[in-house]
């Protein structure tokens, strides 16, 4: 009976680090951190659209010309993304099964809705990432953009983006996706700090505020692009239509 169960050898406890409940948390947190860093870097890259066609296309071409950099990053991001999702789904079900009979009357005191809907905001991000790759990376959904070239013969990413967001439906989907992302981040950021053990009662409200702040910055940093396109702040270069 219970006498058998209380025997946890130190060795057994050690090897299970990654499979343990705390190991899983740390795993979600670290993979999430890399995804967050990518999201931040990507945002800074995108914002160069405000510096004009030449700057954005130069940047896009520069990345293309650095396969030794972008391929490892792409592969790593793919792996982090996949395992973060896989583990997230696993945790979701494990946690569901930890309470086989649910309460007839449910109540919540302080867990924000964002924390309770991570699986859904995450699903929203996944769906969008798939669409986004088809749209801009593989150029499958709008194949006409593949042939866009600027005056010096580079792929005209600048015009492709503007064409994309001139479509109101695409812009709306984008805004919804960015909201999902930032909703996810608002819980993820303070949660990350708690998981790696950098939290206490003094820092808890600060980290929560920091989570919201970063989420808002990321949301605006991304959303300002379709907003600028739709309000004609950024327009197609001369001769492109």
């Amino acid at each position: 009976m219970s006498t058998v169960k209380t025997q946890v050898s130190p060795a057994q406890a050690q090897v299970t680090f990654i499979a343990s409940s705390i190991g899983k948390k740390i795993f979600m947190a670290t993979t999430g951190l890399f995804l967050f860093l990518f999201v931040s870097g990507h945002m800074v890259g995108n914002l160069q659209i405000f510096l004009g066609q030449d700057q954005l296309n130069t940047y896009a071409q520069a990345l293309k010309d650095l396969p030794a950099l972008i391929w490892p990053v792409r592969i790593l991001m793919f792996i982090f993304f996949a395992v973060h999702i896989w583990r997230g789904i696993q945790l979701y079900f494990e946690n569901k099964f930890s309470r086989p009979i649910s309460y007839a009357c449910n109540a919540t005191v302080q867990a924000p809705l964002s924390s309770r809907t991570m699986i859904f905001s995450g699903a929203g991000i996944l769906l969008y990432v798939v669409y986004h790759l088809l749209h801009f990376t593989f150029i499958t959904t709008n194949p006409q953009y593949a042939g866009l070239h600027d005056t010096v013969g580079r792929h005209d990413v600048y015009s492709m983006v503007i064409f994309g967001y001139q479509n109101v439906a695409i812009s709306v989907v984008y805004l919804v996706a960015m909201f999902s992302l930032c909703y996810h981040l608002s819980h993820a950021i303070p949660s990350f700090m708690q998981t790696i053990g950098l939290n206490n009662e003094k820092w808890e409200p600060r980290l929560k505020a920091l989570g919201y702040l970063i989420a808002i910055v990321i949301f605006f940093g991304y959303s300002v692009i379709p907003a600028a396109v739709l309000s004609n702040l950024i327009v197609l270069p001369e001769g492109v239509h």
Binding site: S2, K5, T6, V8, P10, Q12, A13, Q14, T16, F17, S20, S21, I22, G23, K24, K25, I26, L91, E94, N95, F97, S98, R99, P100, I101, S102, Y103, A104, C105, N106, A107, T108, V109, Q110, A111, S115, R116, M118, H187, P190, S191, M193, Q194, T195, I196, G197, L198, N199, N200, E201, E204
Partner: protein, 245 residues
Amino acid sequence: MNFKLHVWRQKNAAAKGRMEQYEARDINADMSFLEMLDVVNEDLVEKGIDPIHFDHDCREGICGACSLVINGLPHGGMTGTTCEVRMRLFKDGSTIYVEPFRAKAFPVIKDLTVDRTSIDRVMQAGGFVSTHTGAAIDANAILVPKDKAEEAMDAAACIGCGACVAACKNASGMLFVAAKVSQLALLPQGQAERERRVNKMVAMMDIEGFGNCTNYYECEAVCPKDISVKFIAKMNREYMRALVK
């Protein structure tokens, strides 16, 4: 005061339970929640109905025996334990839901009584200091800095009631385990077994079927002893420290 109660009734561990309705009549506003159930039970016994089973012992908020999820919150979500909750805190004539602490690690024994020995087994896995203490030693023989002593005391306030598990949307046991791990990690007596303790207690917590923490902090919100989630952060730290030690 009068109340309409929805209470979970379950004959035994194997039986399928369900919510039943009862009336609580002429309740004194200064009665505790458990005293209100005593009144209801007297009435049920008179009618020849099996009384509602629930756990209790000290009835003064120190032992951790009482449980109950009242209107969706363990210990009613008020300050203190269920035995300390007074009926004046409820609206006269209102409906009250009374359910057992729900978790895979806390199987129902009967009605509102659940088996919380999983907590004991986690404690047995490492929540102790292996020294023969003999007679009580002089209070100042081992010096403990004031701030450490205070913090360890805050963690030691846990009474092992399991409300944190019942409140957690994942039925995670992180708060009470963290409280014990932190308490002993803060004190000189706990140093020798520091890494072994956290590894074993976390392993046992997982074996017992508690869920994984996703930082909802609902545990902290209902804990009758105000154990802070900062101790969970501390346990995460202790766990990583044990890995590289």
